[in-house]
């Protein structure tokens, strides 16, 4: 048994010079989220670690409205749980029980979810065929029709944009036979576009002043979760990724 001491990363944050905010709808949405999660997992969440995805989204997106917060929390949960092996194509009874640790980048698992050939129980939004349809519509500028035909909540539109952008990224990378990219974080962050009740201009990821900020944000988040990975899993991860970096936006820290 070995041990190490973690210097509290939260101590770094005051230098960001702003107050941490929790979405004021957190408590209300949390109840709905937990009910949904229990239903999704067939009422058996006993063996699942308590991830608190709803809290994560409440902290990361402190200003979005309740429908958005609930949907983003669901999407976040699906992303993580699919990546961990808790959610797979098929019926809930076919899902594996217990915790199946698989170390993958935070927010980067949706590509695996999408890669499943079958539908994702409990979520039409994450049905691969549906996502493809959304992606195609986004790419061809036909989002208006989708938005009108969907329930008129900003959260739904938000997810259409999110999944569409994500799928576009994924399939663009496939087209060019490029490295597997890690769009999850950036795309997840892109939901912020709707967080301020106004539509932001397209292509903000590529605005020159923002590029280094995206890079820093991605590095901070990915590196900070890497520290905490279970050691056994860490070894597996390093072996798995020995062929090269999985991320396009993540740098290797100097000297590591």
């Amino acid at each position: 048994m070995s041990s190490y001491h973690i210097q509290d990363l939260r101590l770094i944050l005051p230098t960001l010079d702003f107050d941490l905010r929790v979405n004021k709808h957190y408590a209300k949405v949390s109840v709905q989220f937990r009910e949904w999660l229990q239903e999704l997992l067939g009422g058996d969440t006993g063996e699942l670690p308590e991830h608190r995805f709803d809290l994560l989204c409440s902290l990361c997106f402190p200003t979005i409205d309740p429908p958005q917060l609930l949907r983003v929390s669901k999407l976040c949960a699906l992303t993580f749980l699919a990546n961990d092996g808790h959610i797979r194509a098929g019926t809930p009874s076919q899902w594996p029980t217990g915790y199946v640790p698989r170390v993958e980048p935070v927010f980067g698992a949706l590509n695996q979810l999408v890669a499943h050939s079958g539908s994702t129980p409990g979520s039409n939004l994450l049905n691969p065929e549906h996502l493809l349809e959304v992606a195609h519509s986004v790419r061809t500028g036909q989002t208006q029709e989708l938005e009108c035909s969907s329930p008129t909540t900003s959260g739904t539109n938000l997810l259409f944009r999110f999944t569409g952008n994500l799928l576009s990224s994924l399939y663009s990378s496939r087209d060019t036979n490029a490295q597997i990219i890690h769009p999850g974080l950036l795309e997840f962050l892109s939901v912020l576009e709707n967080a301020h009740d106004r539509k932001l201009s397209d292509g903000l990821v590529n605005v020159p002043p923002l590029a280094p900020l995206w890079r820093c944000t991605t590095n901070i988040i990915v590196w900070s979760q890497v520290i905490w990975q279970k050691e056994g899993s860490l070894v597996a991860r390093e072996l798995t990724h020995a062929a090269g970096p999985r991320f396009i936006h993540v740098q290797t820290p100097s000297g590591v």
Binding site: M1, S2, S3, Y4, H5, I6, D8, L9, R10, I12, L13, T15, L16, D17, L20, R21, P49, E50, H51, R52, L55, L56, S58, C60, F61, P62, P101, V106, L189, L192, A195, H196, L200, S201, V207, P209, L210, P212, L213, C216, T217, I220, I221, W223, S224, Q225, V226, I227, W228, E231, G232, S233, L234, V235, E238, T252, P253, S254, G255, V256
Partner: protein, 102 residues
């Protein structure tokens, strides 16, 4: 990343973890400089400022969340958050991260 430090550079686990923490701190410093440059500079793109502020929310939110659940520290995550010590099974037989706050 940690393992690369352990094996490639001959660092102890503690040193490797501290190494990465320094890198994260450095990256936070870069973020602050770039953010300040954006908000006080000549950039007249209000949307860009909004997104930059939102990134700040995400960084802070994510790092706080790390300490608020069982995903990384198991059942005793509250003790890790409080005391900062993580005990790992070096054989990896139980997936590591037995946590002892003593």
């Amino acid at each position: 990343m940690v393992c690369r430090s352990l094996k490639g550079r001959g660092l102890t686990l503690q040193a490797a973890v501290s190494d990465i923490r320094r890198d994260i701190q450095s990256e936070v410093g870069k973020f602050i400089r770039n953010h300040k440059s954006l908000t006080t500079g000549t950039c007249d793109n209000g949307d860009a400022v909004t997104v930059a502020n939102s990134m700040r929310d995400c960084i802070a939110g994510f790092i706080h969340w790390l300490y608020e659940g069982e995903r990384y520290f198991g059942k005793r995550y509250e003790e890790v958050a409080k005391f900062g010590w993580v005990f790992t099974d070096t054989n990896g037989t139980n997936g590591g991260n037995d946590v002892d706050g003593s």
